[in-house]
């Protein structure tokens, strides 16, 4: 039973991590390709407590920052905040609706990019506006669409069961 539960919990995130490092480069420009790592974090937060989600966000952010060392720490901060808030939001909304989840994915992506853009201090003026008003929404849309698809496919495994943590 425990092994089955572990598989149910980790199958989608592991798949998303693998997708992030394999097919993401083929899905168009990196500016608006779906962020599978963020999606894995957000799906993890479906079942996790806010504290665990924040820690997971921090880990994901640090690992992401290791690949983009120029803004080291910014991603960690952004993912930490996004993970914590996503977990809190799901607890508040108790969202089982795919569209609500899609909205959460979109908002989380945009918020993550917003924090990274501000925290890194490398964007300003028109560039920042373009990032926040064009590229981030586009990335949020693709990420949300991918997330909804993943949730639809893994719905039996990802649905929250009462009495189960």
């Amino acid at each position: 039973m425990r092994a089955g539960r572990l598989v149910r919990v980790w199958a989608a995130p592991v798949l998303l991590v693998a997708l992030h490092f394999s097919v993401r480069s083929r899905l168009g420009a990196e500016r608006f390709a779906p962020d599978f790592l963020l999606l894995a974090l957000l799906i993890y937060t479906i079942r996790a407590r806010p504290g665990a989600s924040a820690a997971a966000g921090f880990l994901v952010g640090v690992l992401g920052d290791a690949l983009t060392p120029a803004s080291f720490g910014t991603g960690a901060l952004a993912h930490t905040v996004v993970g914590y808030l996503a977990s809190r939001a799901k607890a508040v909304f108790f969202a089982e609706n795919l569209l609500v989840n899609g909205g959460l994915f979109f908002a989380a992506t945009w918020l993550r990019n917003f924090i990274v853009a501000l925290g890194s201090g490398k964007l300003g003026g028109p560039q920042l506006l373009w990032e926040l008003l064009v590229w981030s929404p586009l990335e949020g849309l693709t990420t949300a669409a991918t997330g909804v698809l993943i949730l639809a496919v893994f719905r039996p495994w990802l649905s929250i069961r009462l009495g189960e943590r």
Partner: protein, 333 residues
Amino acid sequence: MALGADRYASRGDTVVLLCCVALSLVAMSLPDGVRVPVTSGLRRTVLWPFLQLQARFEQVRTSQSRFAEVVAERDSAVLAATFLRELQAENARLRALIGLKPRVGAGFVPAEVLHQGTVIDRLTLVISVGSRAGVDTLATVVAPEGLLGTVSETDVHTSVVTTWANPEFRASGMAADGSVYGIVAPHGTKGPDTWLLELRGVPYRQVVPVGTVILTTGLGGVIPRGIPVGTVIALASESGWERTYLVRPAVAPGAVTHVLVLVGSHAADLRHAFFPDSAKVARPDTVRRAVAPDTARRRRPVPRDTGRRAAPPPPPDSVQPDSAVPQDSTKQP
């Protein structure tokens, strides 16, 4: 367990959040001397399998794109090679035409074939010379390989050539040794038959072996004598007292780009122009008289152990061979 109450943030969650935020801020403020080893260590350890995965996929992607490039390069090379062969063939045709000119002598006009757009056009071709150059209707048009057709229409600068593939084409033909005569005409009007000729009206008692070169006879005064028309490839039919032979044309109209239009006297014999060493063309066994079966039975058999074949007697009008059967082979046992 009640899910909602369990998932609301507790104090512990808040502490974890604050710790993570603090660590993030620390990470943001790390100097390069510390940050670089940390990020490098993460890439060498935790991220290494993921980076390997990404590298593999990039290799596959690169291999696929490289494969596409190689395929494109190969296709380009094939295309270039195709053109190269075409250029070589055209070069060879031009050289042959240049070689043909002095042998034909005076009385020709060189021309280029202007239009080969469709298959139908191969029945008639447009050439780049007309009446201003002295071309008249019924002028003979030849390629280095042999007869292409006759001029059917002329204007000032161009002419229309009716090739041998046209159903209306007729020419008097003969075997290269002059022993067999017949009428050369297109074999058919539809399908692959369009691209074959036939030699009609060959007397039943005359056998034309496969490989015999058919030349024009010059009879009728339109097409000069001695122009290659084609090569016999098979017996097509026997009807009554005559035979019809299939002839592979000497000239493929679709491949011709340059021609000579003969505008001089039609009485000339052009065999020497197409076959400078004409003895090779007229082989002694090109045409042999058909022997009646009873006559054949009266012949003395050839001993099998000699391994020699009895050569048929050469026809009176055939050219003696220069590389025929060895002398001793011709002896009757």
